[in-house]
């Protein structure tokens, strides 16, 4: 059997004139967790629904575990999905919800309930079988939805913004739980989110989408350290995008001031240059670097944030709290560690 869990080949989905998904191709290795990340309306949910078979593509080809499923309905695909709203059946109790999939696939009731109970136990939900979904907390509902999806031993598990209905403190724990479960069971997972932190935290692979197309796909580190363009640099965390010039490998000019930096290879000439806020270290005036003046300073406990006015433009800077502190209006010199020269984006 192939090692590819999901294979998209030039898949397009058009709603009337809107191309929600536009010639998208990607491959998800078996046992990996890929997040679909992007701003609202970029086509993440549609992509997920195409995998699930809840939408049928208007063009292209979809394979799951080597089987062509392009024309198959959701019921025939052997996938499972956890919905944003959880979509628990309100008229069934937890046990009935979890055994539903087994029953419609022809299992007998006793064996289905035994399996469902085992799955509830795996997810730490024992004792809740007789409750109605409305009698559970948000976190419990979410776990029931996961149990219901997993009990069918699906080839692929899909999550659509699974954390969006949980409160902030629960989110971190639940996302870790999902990640642990995925590792333990070796599941192939597609996970939709619009939160880059969440994406970085849980994924093996991140797939950033923009306007129905894949903007870049790679590991979290690749995307953070090596974004293809300004859109991704900005989307994968804060970035100062400045107009500058690459002079030679390891040497750039910003606001006319030459600086030595760490950078990936880039042809010499004018370029957009992205600098992460934590790659900038303000130092007392006179030190080598980009001179500037502190416009705003804030102390946030673990970190300090500054806005520094320089010849290249306004810089947003984050430093560890333990580093040297500066006051508003002070003149500083900014040392740049690592910069990212950006490729031109066409269109």
């Amino acid at each position: 059997m192939s090692d590819v869990a999901i294979n998209f080949e030039g898949v397009t989905k058009a709603f009337g004139n809107v191309r929600a998904v536009d010639e998208v191709s990607f491959q998800l290795p078996r046992g990996a967790l890929v997040t679909l990340l992007g701003p609202s309306g970029c086509g993440k949910t549609t992509t997920l629904r195409l995998v699930a078979g809840l939408e049928l593509p208007t063009g292209g080809r979809i394979e799951i575990e080597g089987r062509d499923v392009t024309g198959l309905s959701a019921a025939e695909r052997r996938i499972a999905m956890v919905f944003q709203s959880y979509a628990l059946f309100p008229h069934m109790n937890v046990l009935e919800n979890v055994s539903y999939g087994l029953l419609v696939n022809g299992a007998r009731k006793p064996s289905a309930e035994a399996e469902a109970n085992a799955m509830l136990k795996t997810l730490g939900l024992e004792g809740l079988g007789q409750r109605l979904p409305s009698e559970l907390s948000g976190g419990q509902q979410q776990r029931v939805a996961v149990a219901r999806a997993l009990v069918l031993r699906p080839k692929v598990l899909l999550f659509d913004e699974p954390l969006s209905n949980l409160d902030a403190r629960l989110r971190r724990r639940v996302r870790e739980d999902i990640r642990d479960l995925q590792r333990k069971l070796g599941l192939s997972v597609v996970y939709v989110t619009h939160d880059q932190q969440e994406a970085l935290a849980v994924s093996d692979l991140v797939c950033v989408m923009r306007a129905g197309k894949i903007a870049q796909m790679g590991t979290p580190v690749e995307l953070y350290d090596d974004p293809a363009d300004a859109f991704i640099a900005d989307f994968m965390g804060e970035a100062n995008v400045l107009q500058g010039e690459v002079l030679a490998p390891g040497r750039i000019a910003l606001g006319g001031i030459p600086l030595d930096v760490t950078m990936r290879p880039h042809p010499s000439g004018p370029a957009q240059i992205a600098v992460r806020p934590e790659s900038i270290l303000p130092q007392p005036e006179g030190a080598p670097g980009l001179p500037g003046r502190i416009q705003r300073a804030a102390f946030l406990g673990q970190t300090r944030e500054y806005e520094v006015e320089t010849a290249a433009g306004m810089l947003f800077v984050v430093t560890p709290a333990a580093s040297l502190a500066f006051a508003m209006g002070e003149a500083v010199s900014c040392r740049l560690d690592r910069v990212i020269p950006l490729r031109d984006v066409k269109g």
Binding site: A52, G53, L54, L56, G71, L72, S73, A74, A75, E76, R77, R78, I79, A80, M81, F83, Q84, S85, A87, L88, F89, P90, H91, Y100, G101, V104, N105, R148, A149, L152, L158
Partner: protein
């Protein structure tokens, strides 16, 4: 369900129809079956072999064509063509060759002079069902209907039924208006449409009556205006009437159930008893005030009064809801800006009420157009379209062409009203305000307005009580028509006497019709609810070509007045190939398709409350459309289903306009029987029977309300535009 399973089932069904079931309808009932496999009960295969139906060979050939691939386990897109061919072959031959031999002259070179062909029977029905199944399987195999054969089959069969029982009768009627003595006569059609009978304005200048169109429009407009104003007065008192408003609200609300469970013309009976020449009030006036006895109640005033009695409570329901949905904070905002009470009412409340007023006006208008019972009983010389249509069919001069033309006029007016409303609403769709119940005390009515409302509402309330009181009392006194008010069981006995001859014997003259009515209502109610909810699910949750068309056709039957339906049914189903008149089946079919829209609307509204992701979750877990429907959707739709059941049961018990054309001596209905008693002058029996009906329905409705909470019954809930923002 896969396409192959469906196709195989369809093939089996059609084959049974070909080889076993009698092809033609059994004219003399089930006893004819003894002749099988020959005579009038012969299956098609026998008729083909003896050569008497040689033009139906395509049916057998098409089935033979479909069989090999299906037996080998392959279902291809070609099945769609075979299925369509089957349906066309059966219907085409059925229409081309009728009781008088060849009907379509242009086919003479092909068919020669074939013998008479009676109507289609069970065999044909099975073959048609099979044809539709094959068609659906073919479509599903092509990937239509989400590649789900179950959905495909539902859509195709619903579409077929709607075409046959909603669309076809209408088209048929239109063509009847175009024909004269069996020949196409567009000139006669034109003449009928502009006939003075319809459009004359003679009443303006002479003592002659005006055309029925003017009568109809005048009556409908008056009914709509007065009902809406009365409803408004009641609603204002109930919602804004201060402390005593609560009391009146309860009384008004209790009153709103009455029109629902009263056969439409029963109010007319009470009016005759009160205000007829020998009526109670008339006699009182004569004795005490020397006001001469007259027949003023027969005509416009009487019909108007009866219709307003029925419509005002419905207008109240609509306006009450709308008024409650207007958030008090809007009015408070206006008053904090210094506006006086009257200003607030005129500048805030009134404009926000407008959509509901329009809805209530339209509903009363359309109901008045469609009303048949009251004009029939009380109209006298004042004819409206619905009664005139009836007499064109049932009167001395049977003239289907004229009936059809008048029916078209009525239809045009009804559609015109709906179209105007759509236009008007399209421009101003402000969903009334915030939605969630917000705090704040509703502004009290300006004193003058409150007084006016009370002065209108309470006398009307008392009048309504008197009218219904008469109905309750009337059946149990000797002769209410002449004011003899001594108690008796006599009338009830005439209708509902039960004797004992080796077991209970239902001697009373009303039993037959009551049993038929309950039977027909009990059969049609589950069919209506089931079909309605299915259609709602298909329309709301499935995506397929022709969805809009399906929705349009369901709603079409809502807009067609009952009289028009009756006329069109009798024209469409009196002769082969589909011959149903005189059976109880046509009554059931008529009720099912007339009440369908309410079930569909209710279902769609209920489905809108059920997140679509539930369906999708079921699908991702391997639940096909059928499983999802059975295990997820239907259980969640239970309240809507029960409401649809109750509504269709009650409507089937009270309807008169459409079925008066369709009843027969063997299958008479309660309402039609009562109308007959009125015409025979047996007022007391009619009233006694009405009381029995009302009691039965009251028990039904209250029982159901108890089961599912206050069921939203009535055409009102279906016709109201979505103006109640989440209230």
């Amino acid at each position: 369900m896969g396409a192959l399973t469906l196709a195989r089932a369809a093939l089996l069904c059609a084959t049974l129809g070909l080889f076993l079931a009698p092809w033609h309808g059994l004219q003399d009932g089930i006893s004819e079956v003894t002749a099988w496999p020959g005579g009038s009960a012969a299956p098609l295969v026998a008729l083909l072999l003896d050569g008497s139906r040689w033009w139906l060979w395509p049916v057998a050939l098409l089935l033979a064509l479909a069989a090999p691939a299906l037996l080998r386990g392959r279902a291809g897109a070609g099945l769609a063509w075979i299925g369509a061919g089957l349906v066309l072959a059966v219907f085409g031959a059925g229409y081309a060759i009728g009781l008088n031999g060849l009907q379509w002259g242009w086919l003479a070179p092909l068919l020669g002079a074939p013998p008479a062909q009676p109507s289609l029977g069970w065999g044909a029905f099975l073959v048609l069902a099979g044809g539709i199944g094959l068609f659906a399987a073919g479509q599903a195999a092509r990937g239509r209907f989400g590649a789900d054969a179950f959905v495909a089959f539902l859509v195709c069969s619903c579409g077929f039924l709607l075409l046959l029982f909603v669309f076809l009768p209408l088209v048929n009627m239109l063509s009847a208006a175009l024909y004269e003595d069996g020949r196409l006569a567009p000139a006669a059609f034109g003449a009928r449409l502009v006939a003075p009978e319809a459009w004359s304005l003679a009443c303006l200048s002479t003592h002659a009556g005006c055309g029925v169109v003017w009568n109809t429009l005048l009556l409908a407009t008056l009914t709509a205006v007065i009902s809406t104003l009365l409803g408004l007065a009641f609603a204002l008192l109930a919602v804004r009437g201060g402390a005593r408003g609560k009391v009146s609200a309860g009384a008004f609300r209790a009153m709103t159930i009455l029109p629902l469970i009263t056969p439409p013309f029963v109010v007319s009976l009470a009016l005759i008893v009160l205000f007829g020449r020998t009526g109670i009030v008339t006699g009182f006036m004569w004795d005490w005030f020397d006001i001469p006895r007259s027949r003023w109640i027969y005509g416009l005033p009487g019909v108007l009064l009866a219709q307003v009695l029925a419509q005002a409570p419905i207008a109240f329901l609509l306006l009450d809801g709308a008024l409650r949905a207007i958030s008090p904070s809007l009015e408070e905002a206006a008053s904090t800006m210094g506006a006086r009470r009257m200003r607030v009412f005129c500048s805030v409340t009134w404009p926000l009420l407008k959509p509901a007023l329009a809805a209530s006006f339209l509903l009363a208008f359309v109901e008045s157009l469609a009303d048949f019972g009251n004009p029939l009983v009380l109209g006298g010389d004042f004819d409206v379209l619905s009664t005139r249509i009836f007499f064109a069919i049932a009167g001395a001069r049977h003239d289907p062409g004229r009936a059809a033309a008048l029916a078209l006029l009525l239809l045009a007016i009804t559609f015109g009203a709906f179209a105007l409303q759509a236009l008007w609403l399209g421009k101003r769709r402000y969903t009334t305000v915030t939605g969630k119940g917000d705090s704040g005390i509703p502004a009290a009515l300006p004193a003058g307005l409150k007084l006016t409302c009370a002065a209108v509402a309470w006398p009307w309330m008392i009048f309504t009580a008197a009218v219904y009181g008469i109905i309750l009392v009337g059946g149990f006194v000797h002769d209410i028509g002449r004011g003899d008010l001594s108690f008796t069981w006599r009338h009830l006995g005439t209708g509902f006497e039960v004797g004992w001859f080796d077991g209970p014997a239902f001697i009373g003259s009303a039993w037959d019709s009551l049993f038929t009515t309950i039977q027909v209502a009990a059969i049609s109610a589950p069919l209506t609810a089931g079909l309605g909810i299915l259609l709602a699910w298909l329309i709301a949750r499935q995506n397929f070509p022709g969805r809009r068309g399906l929705e349009f056709m369901t709603m079409l039957s809502f807009a067609i007045p009952g009289t028009v339906v009756g006329v069109s049914y009798i024209m469409a189903f009196n002769v082969p190939p589909v011959e149903l008149t005189g059976t109880a089946l046509i009554l059931v079919i008529c009720f099912v398709f007339r009440n369908l829209p309410v079930g569909v609307r209710g279902g769609i509204a209920a489905l809108a409350q059920i997140d679509k992701s539930l369906d999708e979750a079921s699908a991702t877990m391997g639940g096909g459309a059928f499983q999802t429907l059975r295990r997820v959707v239907l259980p969640l739709l239970r309240p809507a289903i029960v409401t649809a059941l109750a509504y269709s049961f009650v409507t089937a018990m009270t309807a008169v306009s459409a079925v008066i054309f369709l009843v027969s001596a063997r299958h008479n209905l309660a309402t039609v029987y009562i109308v007959g008693r009125v015409e025979a002058g047996e007022m007391a029996l009619a009233i006694a029977y009405s009381t029995v009906l009302i009691v039965i329905m009251l028990v039904t409705v209250l029982g159901i309300e108890k089961l599912v909470g206050r069921a939203r019954l009535g055409r009102a809930s279906a016709a109201a535009p979505p103006i109640r923002a989440g209230a």
